[in-house]
């Protein structure tokens, strides 16, 4: 029995070696992961390839460019920010692998702006078990706002309920006889928007609620039903491609209702690209909301354009650029507030302290009980082929949407958060 003998020899040797090296995989309490004297390493998962890449790949490039701007100006507390971007192709299975790589191999300090509801949901528990700060998730799903269950997770977007409520309130405010309808994606996104609309018009008072799946080829049936129901104001919880499809399909039916679109599907340059020259007039008067300084008249917009020129090879400036750089600013501000020697606990405490201001159209609302930051959104309208903010903004609470004055956070110190 030579085989058995050689096998057992291997086994004994293996076990002996195993015992000798048993420290390798044991849980170790070390200094703060990802933080050294001159560097903070953070990571993210983004769709750089795959079906979602076209809509979102430019976000992380913009964030990285903003961090380069910060690093060129001395970093935060003297530390350079290293932003490790991993591609997950918008596939939850890949997200799980790349996030483990970030946490275990790259030993990142925090995950920042992980993108997508299905993708990020799949690593929520993992990040929670490992105590990794999970900052500013790129999605408006209410999942991120569960401080009891996921104390380290914070959302970035205005949540979908807030957007839905503001869009519906604006419809009711501008036209008291409005018949409000909803077209939403068949997931958290569409459900959140519907919930917001119902907050304003009342439960079950939506004339018709239609849904689509991202696999659908057209939305003719849905729009037919909406036209039939006599809708005057359509609130859309749709991504860019389906916003364009809905507006285009209605125009073909010679139906021109008011469109009120979530920030996730109302990027004007993108919509124009989808609809082409002929379809563009149908976008006139399109109402949307935003919570970031995505307006050419804003000083932030000016600064971000300069950073984009200098550190992002002058990539085309879109809503994603504003978004990505705003994420970067918000993280830099949190890191500055986390103290000279940041720890995972101190940065979470800094975000929860409510002292972060951000660069949005109203101060951030983070607190120990609220892990969302944008409860105020501002109405933007397309007029003469230009999409820009109006003076109307709404603050949404559990009782509904109330009009408020927008309070744009000021730009100071070249857009680099101060560290006292």
């Amino acid at each position: 029995m030579r085989t058995t003998r050689s096998m057992s020899t291997v086994a004994v040797l293996g076990l002996a070696a195993a015992t000798a090296l048993s420290a390798c995989s044991t849980p170790a309490a070390a200094e703060v992961p990802g933080v050294t004297d001159d560097k903070v390493v953070i990571g993210t998962h983004q769709p750089l390839t795959g079906p979602a890449a076209a809509g979102f790949a430019s976000i992380s490039a913009a964030t990285a460019a903003y961090f380069e701007h910060v690093n060129a100006n001395g970093g935060i507390h003297g530390r350079q920010i290293e932003y490790v971007v991993k591609d997950d192709g918008y596939n939850p299975a890949n997200t799980q692998t790349v996030v483990r790589e970030l946490v275990q191999e790259e030993e990142v300090f925090a995950i920042v702006n992980g993108l997508g509801t299905p993708t990020h949901s799949s690593v929520l528990d993992y990040l929670d078990q490992n105590g990794v700060p999970d900052l500013f998730v790129a999605s408006g799903s209410l999942t991120w706002n569960q401080p009891d269950k996921y104390p380290n997770t914070f959302g970035f977007n205005a949540d979908y309920v807030t957007e839905g409520a503001a869009l519906a309130q604006h419809a009711v405010d501008t036209d008291p006889d409005a018949v409000v309808c909803v077209l939403g994606q068949d997931d958290d996104f569409g459900e959140g928007i519907l919930q917001g609309v119902e907050l304003v018009v009342g439960d079950g008072e939506v004339a018709t609620n239609q849904t689509y799946s991202t696999a659908d080829q057209d939305v003719t049936a849905q729009l037919g039903a909406m036209k039939e129901a006599g809708c005057t104001h359509n609130v859309l919880g749709t991504i860019n491609g389906f916003t364009a499809l809905a507006v285009g399909t209605a125009a073909q039916m010679e139906w021109f209702p008011k469109w009120h679109v979530s920030s996730s599907g109302a990027d004007y340059p993108t919509l124009v690209e989808y609809l082409g020259e002929e379809g563009t007039p149908a976008l006139e008067g399109l109402v949307s909301v935003n919570y970031l300084p995505n307006s050419p008249s804003s000083e932030w917009y000016e600064l971000f354009s300069e950073i984009n020129e200098e550190y992002n090879d002058g990539a085309p400036y879109t809503g994603n650029t504003t978004y990505g750089m705003s994420v970067g600013y918000q993280f830099a501000e949190a890191l500055a507030a986390a103290g000279e020697n940041p720890t995972r606990e101190s940065i979470v405490a800094a975000v929860e302290s409510g002292e972060l201001v951000g660069n949005g159209i109203a101060p951030l609302t983070f607190s120990a009980d609220d892990h969302f930051a944008h409860r105020t959104v501002r109405i933007a309208v397309v007029a003469d082929g230009m999409q820009d903010f109006t003076d109307t903004a709404y603050e949404v609470s559990e009782s509904g949407a109330a009009p408020v004055e927008p309070e744009q956070a000021p730009l100071e110190n070249e857009g680099i958060p101060a560290t006292e």
Binding site: R2, T3, T4, S6, M7, S8, V10, A11, G14, L15, A17, A18, T19, L21, S22, C24, S25, T26, P27, L48, T49, G50, A57, V85, D87, G89, N91, P92, A93, N94, Q96, R100, E101, Q104, E105, T117, P118, S121, S122, D125, Y126, Q129, D186, D187, S213, A215
Partner: protein, 372 residues
């Protein structure tokens, strides 16, 4: 072989070595290899243990697949769906049991019962779902040949995302989550969670693969080979090809289902995206590269398909961002193609054939494959 020949071999098979000693020897060897693998987890850092656990899950599925293709000649391109069936079965059952346990005393049950009962129930659930799906497929497989079976299984893989979004319980692209299995208190000072999951993965995989080894070297294996070689001859010898093929498909599905359980334990999530066409084809690549019909080869193939994408990722990390984004996800597919071509040209029997020619492995049957 002639029908008469086969008949005699089938009758005398067990006489050459007593079934009892063979069984004991097999269990001993399986136990030894399992202990060895468990010991090896101490040598690895957490991320490596995560990769080990993933390879173990893939190994279970590839082992079932290689047996199916190598022994009965049925080509399944849809083993990822059978893994997914196991994963969904595990996740839904385990979550339900965990919920019931928690419901009884108001909070999440602690201690061993809190995770062990859901785990075992989940494994049972996975075996049922994967087994039933495998049986249905197997019944069809007994009547379909070569490309038709491959086509049917391929269609299943492509249909998975739509099925997941049509059945509400499977919650679409987001997938369902499986309960987290925490490190038992007694071990928590010694091992990290990734190592603990690697242990569970190794144990489940051992339970999946050991029966396959027994089947392969036993009477059932001989019947499968007989059916593969000549259906008429085997029918004359009293072997029903339909039953053998269906049986082989069910067994292969059970192993794949357990593979799905392993991945669900490790990632706490089952989603259609994880079991796409690419992954399903990779399972076939693993079986071919390892050597069809060889279980040792399946292990090599499984490690290869798990580790190679990571190696590619590491290798392209140094390149300019734009270029590496273009390469990500594409380069590894090209590499797999190259590996398959190189292996089939240089060692037509797969890597297991290569290993068998080395002195150390010559006397073990583990790397024997069915390529003649």
């Amino acid at each position: 072989m002639s029908a008469h020949d086969l008949k005699t071999r089938l009758r005398t098979r067990d006489l050459r070595t007593g079934p009892k000693t063979r069984g004991t020897k097999l269990l001993l060897r399986a136990g030894l290899l399992t202990v060895l693998a468990l010991g090896a987890t101490f040598l690895l850092d957490p991320y490596r243990n995560y990769q080990l656990a993933t390879s173990a899950g893939v190994f279970a599925a590839v082992a079932g697949l290689t047996l199916l293709v190598g022994l009965t000649g049925q080509l399944s391109l849809g083993h990822a769906v059978l893994m997914a069936a196991g994963g969904y079965g595990y996740a839904l059952t385990a979550t339900w049991v965990a919920g019931t346990l928690a419901g009884a005393d108001g909070e999440v049950a602690d201690g061993v019962v809190g995770w062990l009962l859901p785990l075992l129930a989940g494994v049972a659930g996975a075996l049922v779902t994967a087994g039933v799906l495998g049986l249905l497929l197997g019944l069809a497989a007994a009547r379909l040949r070569g490309p038709y079976l491959a086509g049917l299984t391929l269609a299943l893989v492509i249909a998975l995302p739509s099925v997941a979004s049509t059945i509400p319980a499977l919650s679409g692209a987001q997938g369902v989550s499986a309960p987290f299995v925490p490190v038992p208190d007694a071990l928590s000072a010694l091992i990290a969670v990734e190592q603990w999951h690697a242990w569970l993965a190794i144990l489940v995989t051992a339970c999946a693969v050991t029966p396959l080894v027994a089947l392969r070297s036993g009477r059932a294996g001989l019947r499968m080979r007989a059916v593969h070689d000549d259906e008429t001859a085997s029918r004359l010898a009293g072997v029903d090809p339909g039953r053998v093929k269906t049986g082989a498909f069910v067994i292969s599905s059970l192993a794949a289902g357990l593979g799905g359980v392993v991945l669900a334990i490790v990632t706490q999530q089952v989603s259609p995206g994880a079991y796409g066409l690419g992954f399903s084809l990779l399972l076939v690549v693993a079986a071919v590269v390892g050597g069809l019909g060889s279980l040792g080869g399946a292990a090599i193939g499984a490690v290869l398909v798990t580790v190679l994408p990571w190696v590619v990722d590491q290798a392209t990390a140094g390149l300019p961002a734009d270029l590496s984004h273009r390469l990500q996800g594409n380069l590894e597919i090209v590499l797999f193609g190259v590996v398959v071509i190189v292996v089939t040209i240089l060692w037509p029997g797969g890597l297991s054939r290569l290993l068998q020619t080395t002195k150390f492995f010559r006397n073990t049957k583990l790397f024997q494959n069915t390529e003649r």
